[in-house]
Symmetry: C2
């Protein structure tokens, strides 16, 4: 039994929402099409999500398609590397890259969707919190640091390299990025 | 005398290109409209830039609107802080934020524009290179580091915080980000 309540076939609804977003874009995303694609009555959809934005926010945040496994490998370095690999995979895999790109290109033009983005990333950060909690308990992370700043660096670098600079997120790049986030670029004499 | 050659009123042409991109988006950006707005004959524009993409690439790379001053403050930390402030300003100021957002939302959907993005960021990186060269000469930066990785972290974190997470790039955030890039998040016992 899941703790969070939702309609039957919830994951199919979320997947249909994200796939239609990827193919048609936000403007042409229609709750009716989600109903057809997921085989769920549209009144059911409206009962759970009163608007397109509400459905989209729920799909982005809760769909298994975009979820990441929160690692617990025993060290901060290998935990962050596992997260970095998953972010890079979401941004490049054939199934998820078009969804991420569509969501990315929608949000900055639509202030009303900023709340969706905020919800999504706040949820991500809350799920990733145990990584940092355990790192503090192991004495691996400087006290007083905001874990969101660490994730901004790590996720930001991967986004920037892949989607803006048009580069690749090779294993060497991901490892170097995690090392930089942990050790910094300063020469330690 | 400028070394780079270009038509008269080049900056007006670039500004018109970027402002029209911001207002109308890539699809409706037309060389004819750039000609009208900048008061330059459209045959002149076609002579210098044979396509819309060529004009857009030149405008993004060379317009003063999006340029950043490469600082030389005497330390890597204050140089990076100066760059970070300029990136945050470009992403938030009333005049430039719509241009950046328009460019951002276009690029991932149009593979043919990936080359424009690559050109833009390669040019940025080449200009920023002296910051890192001087840091190496002062012994401030670990040898063997790729400056692009440092800039991915710094710029990526600011983009991520502002445009994806929907947060703010406060002075404290920028300072913390630069410190993290330089010192890393690891607890140094």
């Amino acid at each position: 039994m899941s703790i969070r309540s939702g309609p039957r076939k919830e994951e199919a609804i979320f997947a249909a929402t994200l796939e239609l977003l990827a193919v048609h874009g936000y403007d042409k995303l229609a709750i009716e099409s989600v109903a057809v694609r997921s085989g769920v009555n549209k009144t059911t959809l409206y009962r759970w999500w009163p608007s397109k934005d509400a459905l989209l926010a729920a799909a982005l945040t809760n769909s298994g398609l975009l979820s990441i496994d929160v690692p617990d490998t025993g060290s901060l370095r290998t935990d962050l590397l596992a997260v970095a690999r998953q972010i890079a995979r979401l941004l490049t895999s054939e199934r998820t890259a078009p969804i991420v790109t569509a969501a990315l290109t929608v949000a900055p033009r639509r202030p009303e969707l900023a709340e969706v983005a905020r919800t999504f990333f706040a949820d991500r950060m809350a799920r990733e919190q145990p990584i940092f909690q355990r790192a503090w308990e192991r004495g691996e992370l400087r006290l007083g640091l905001d874990p969101a700043s660490i994730m901004d660096l790590l996720a930001g670098a991967i986004w920037f390299r892949l989607l803006l600079r048009g580069g690749e997120a090779s294993p060497a790049f991901l490892a170097e990025t995690v090392d930089l986030v942990l050790e910094g670029g300063t020469q330690n004499l």
